[in-house]
């Protein structure tokens, strides 16, 4: 029973602004990813969701805290141990095109893998393996083998990368925004593929900013805010009964087909030093307006407060459903 455990992981980045200092990207994030489980990691840009994925893939070293896989700390692997780790833990990223070298055939991503992991495998056995992996992601080998990346659609490219991960004995997949660049019609195929792989026992960390996609595939959901967990729990509890104000705000902003946002016109606003309309063609009657007091959910432009390193305390609202104190 393999399990990935993220324990109080923090990551501080050196800020590049004039003020300098350290910016916390992750603040003591802890969770476990079990076999056959899909966790959606949802947060806005800058919430640290991609950093978590990178820490798990050992692309970023955490400032403190540990990630253990099968009880072993992943930062302490030897070269051979790391190779075995990557046999089980793989990532797929947002822009499929940038994962390929445009001057080689797309299936070169398979060959590179062969050199490292399957050097002794015969050609016939290797081809069978590729066929099986392509079959698993519902790709027709003749459609994709020997083609250049630009000849494949985004959905095909993304499924080919998942097939690459399946060639290995992959148990954990970090899927970072893998469908946000795809068209609605192809995005669903990739989503349904993830569901199928999960049913076969794959653990998936599904990183996204799209709440409806996260909701569709996942068993549990983590809402990340300023690098700390704001809310974590079974997906139906988070979406059905959100407790954190931030989660509620996110959910209210999701555009839905059959429900309109409640748009309230801003109304008159009085402004310093104003006179008539602008030059130019239109004749807009400019209504003097009072500067709106930036109500919740609108704008999200309030100056970002200095973020304390210590994350807010999590309380158990109902079994398995933890909610952070407001910050």
């Amino acid at each position: 029973m393999s399990e990935l455990k993220v324990h109080e992981v923090s990551k501080l980045f050196q800020a590049t602004t004039r003020a300098g200092g350290l910016t916390p990207a992750l603040r003591k994030v802890s969770f476990e990813l079990r076999q056959g489980e899909v966790i959606s990691l949802i947060g806005e840009s800058g919430s640290g969701k991609t950093t978590i994925g990178k820490v798990i893939l050992r692309l970023v070293r955490p400032s403190s805290g540990t990630v253990t896989y099968d009880g072993k700390d992943i930062t302490r692997y030897s070269a051979r141990g790391l190779r075995d780790y990557y046999r089980h833990v793989q990532g797929v990223f947002q822009d499929p095109f940038s994962s390929y070298n445009p001057i080689y055939h797309a299936d070169r991503v398979f060959d590179l893998l062969r050199d490292v992991y399957f050097a002794r495998l015969s050609d016939a056995a290797w081809n069978d393996k590729i066929d099986a992996a392509l079959h698993a992601v519902a790709l027709n080998p003749s459609d994709v083998l020997g083609k250049y990346p630009h000849e494949l659609s985004g959905g095909q490219q993304q499924r080919l990368l998942i097939a690459r991960a399946l060639l290995l004995d992959v148990r954990v997949l970090v899927a970072d925004e893998i469908i946000s660049m795809l068209d609605a019609s192809t995005r669903v195929d990739v989503l349904n593929l993830l569901v199928k792989l999960k049913q076969e026992g794959l653990a998936i960390l599904f990183i996204t900013h799209d709440l409806s996609l996260g909701n569709y595939v996942s068993d549990r959901t983590i809402i990340l805010r300023h690098g700390a967990i704001a809310e974590i729990g079974p997906t139906e509890m988070i979406f059905g009964n959100p407790q954190h104000d931030y989660t509620k705000m996110l959910l209210s902003a999701v555009p839905e087909l059959h429900k309109k946002w409640r748009h309230t016109a801003l109304g008159p606003v009085a402004l310093p030093g104003d006179d008539g309309a602008v030059s130019g063609n239109g004749s807009a009657a400019v209504i003097p307006v009072a500067v709106p007091s930036n109500p919740n959910g609108r704008g999200a432009t309030a100056p970002v407060p200095v973020i304390p390193l210590e994350p807010p305390v999590l309380h158990e609202f109902e079994p398995g459903h933890l909610v952070a104190e407001p910050e």
């Binding site: 806005e44 840009s45 659609s153 068209d183 609605a184 019609s185 192809t186 995005r187 669903v188 195929d189 989503l191 349904n192 569901v195 900013h209 799209d210 709440l211 409806s212 996609l213 909701n215 569709y216 595939v217 139906e236 979406f239 059905g240 705000m249 902003a253 999701v254 555009p255 839905e256 087909l257 059959h258 309109k260 946002w261 748009h263 016109a265 801003l266 606003v269 402004l271 030093g273 104003d274 006179d275 309309a277 602008v278 030059s279 130019g280 063609n281 239109g282 004749s283 807009a284 009657a285 400019v286 209504i287 307006v289 500067v291 709106p292 959910g297 609108r298 704008g299 999200a300 432009t301």
Partner: protein, 322 residues
């Protein structure tokens, strides 16, 4: 009618011949209308938008004309278009967040823009800009900042502000909400509504692949497929009562909040759109359409089957007439 596009075709020159990316598209927009233009990548929606503002050297209009407020828009003539840009038609281009150069402060970008469009009374326009900045909930000091000091959402909104500063009749907003977080998406969407309500822009064509955002802000939605307009109707009709099989499939592929895979399995659309270099005759969705029949070998015309509801599909037209 503030905007009328009649039978517009736009082609790209390529080594292997012309690629007609927009093929005989006709529609009209009323004053104050926000029209959503949606479709898969490569369907021609951005080409259509760009053609109305600024044709690049690879593009040429092969047929049709565009009327704006009763006057023909000289879309082929870059020199004649120049005084009309920003004042009559304006664009928020795709990846607008990256449209602001990092080497100049926002104020300088705005004054440069006004200068190049021959606006004399720049102080007055800047005052108006400050007013609008306050209106959307930002502070006036963004004018004194560099673009890299602003977040993606702020940059996006500043770009929209700049594009609409001279109150254009028609605004082309190309993917203005993509790549934004949901809360910022909402802020940008509501900003478009507010600007329309205040008359800063008279009508808007919002180009996006995201139907659910259009359901929020658009008055009508037009769906394009492989260079052609396949359906146009008021937003509620598209969302609840789409007639074209392609529109129906697009809507069926959208996940909704609160629906999980074990409750309802979404379906994609198998296949890919045809190549536009030598497109097949007849309905272009035929190969992917579950309802295709013999008649579909002929090209279906866009016809009004119900008041305001236009669709280019033999089956839908047949059913509507019954």
């Amino acid at each position: 009618m503030s905007v009328t596009v009649a039978n517009l075709s736009v082609a790209y020159r390529s080594h292997r011949g012309d690629v007609t990316a927009v093929d005989g598209v006709s529609f009209s927009l009323a004053d104050g209308e926000i029209m959503g233009l949606a479709g898969e990548s490569g369907c021609g929606k951005s080409t259509l938008g760009n053609a109305l503002v600024c044709m690049d050297t690879r593009m040429k209009a092969t047929a049709g004309k565009v009327m704006l407020d009763g006057k023909e828009l000289p879309i082929e003539d870059g020199r004649a278009m120049r005084p009309l840009r920003m004042t009559e038609v304006s664009v928020v281009p795709q990846y607008a967040m990256n449209a602001l150069t990092p080497t100049r402060k926002i104020r300088r970008l705005v004054t440069d823009l006004l200068k190049s469009h021959g606006v004399r009374d720049r102080d007055r326009v800047l005052t108006e800009m400050k007013r609008r900045i306050a209106l959307i909930g930002l502070t006036g000091d963004v004018l004194g900042k560099y673009s890299f000091e602003l977040s993606g959402g702020m940059r996006q909104r500043i770009t929209i502000l700049m594009s609409t500063l001279l109150n254009p009749s028609l605004l082309i907003a190309d993917e203005v909400t993509s790549a934004l977080d949901v809360s910022t998406q909402r802020a940008v969407g509501e900003m478009l509504l507010e600007f329309r309500d205040r008359g800063y822009v008279r009508s808007v064509i919002a180009i996006t692949h995201d139907l659910s955002i259009l359901a929020q802000i658009a008055d009508s939605i037009a769906i394009m497929y492989a260079g052609r307009l396949v359906e146009k109707a008021p937003t509620p009709s598209i969302v609840n009562d789409a007639l074209h099989p392609y529109t129906q499939a697009l809507i069926a592929s959208l996940p909704e909040v609160g629906v999980r895979h074990d409750q309802a399995t979404l379906t994609g659309i198998p296949g890919r759109p045809p190549s536009l270099l030598r497109p097949p005759a007849g309905c272009r969705f035929r190969d992917r359409c579950p309802f295709a029949f013999d008649k579909c070998a002929e090209n279906p015309p866009l016809q009004e089957v119900r008041p305001g509801h236009h669709v280019a599909c033999w089956k839908a037209a047949q059913e509507a007439s019954e």
